[in-house]
Amino acid sequence: MAKIIVVTSGKGGVGKTTSSAAIGTGLALKGHKTVIIDFDIGLRNLDLIMGCERRVVYDFVNVINGEANLKQTLIKDKRTDNLFILPASQTRDKDALSKAGVEKVLNELAKDFDFILCDSPAGIESGAMMALYFADEAIVVTNPEVSSVRDSDRILGMLASKSRRAEQGLDAIKEHLLLTRYNPERVEKGEMLSVEDVKEILSIDLLGVIPESQAVLNASNSGQPVILDSESDAGQAYLDTVERLLGEKVPFRFLTVEKKGLLKRIFGG
């Protein structure tokens, strides 16, 4: 039985698509058959982050409307086995996703996949609601910044009231906090909310902390999920995150300022 995970945030620009690409790739690297669905109808971007933008033929809305089947539409990732992308439609109106249509596609994918990752659009309109409606688990991507934290809390409210699990009185969606663009130096200076602050305000389990990193922009420039950059701090932090998502106990890294040794101080690094 496939697990449906929504990657959501309310606020835009916090790293939903970057995280979806990284975590989806990580799950596939661990041997789980994974599909990442772009729910951002009209503003397709997952394809670009995954580096498959020129291989898009059909899209999510085509499948819902029966104009193409899943086999024709799913893009198989060229780097990672077990990984597929279902691109969003670029041209159609935002209300092209119907609950029944999305459910049909998810049910069909569930027969074949271990993980279905739903990359939500920003906001709280129909696209975002559709992305979270069928979820079993939610990864709430949050920046240590007031507007992002407030919007995350808003989304937590939606997960608890507007989802299928809430409406049908099933077990609640399992909520995970993913803190991104974390800068330990600024936290130490008292200029940025700390992990503990955000955890305390949102009171949900911490899944991962991704440090603010140049590797993220480099990765998106080249269309490579940052998790494949295993030398980078962000790549390693995403790998830890995936392992925690799979139930492993992994200590948190990159939470404190790295003390530079004498040699590093002299020669830089």
């Binding site: 934290v149 407030r150 809390d153 409210g157 009231s161 008292g190 200029e191 909310l193 700390s194 602050d197």
Partner: protein, 86 residues
């Protein structure tokens, strides 16, 4: 860090300010979320009635509906009256 910065740092950090502001607004919005739709209108109506007699602003009034158990819910109305000297 300069000597001046050292003395400045005794001031509350901006992260602390952010945390306090968030705690207040998030708590407020959660109460809203879990309360019936008519509550904001009820709050506005009560505000209007009180304003006929005393000049208060919207932030001086708080209406919460608390579900104690299945049988009992309590409507709590909290109005801060202005200082009489003002």
């Amino acid at each position: 860090m300069s000597l001046l910065d050292y003395f400045r740092s005794t001031k509350k950090s901006s992260a602390n300010t952010a945390k306090e502001r968030l705690q207040i607004i998030v708590a407020h919005e959660r109460r809203r979320r879990n309360s019936p739709d008519y509550l904001p209108q009820l709050e506005r109506d009560i505000l209007e009635v009180i304003r006929k007699y005393v000049d208060i602003s919207p932030e001086d009034i708080a209406v919460t509906l608390e579900q104690r158990d299945d049988e009992l819910s309590v409507l709590e109305l909290n109005v801060t009256f202005p200082d009489e000297k003002r």
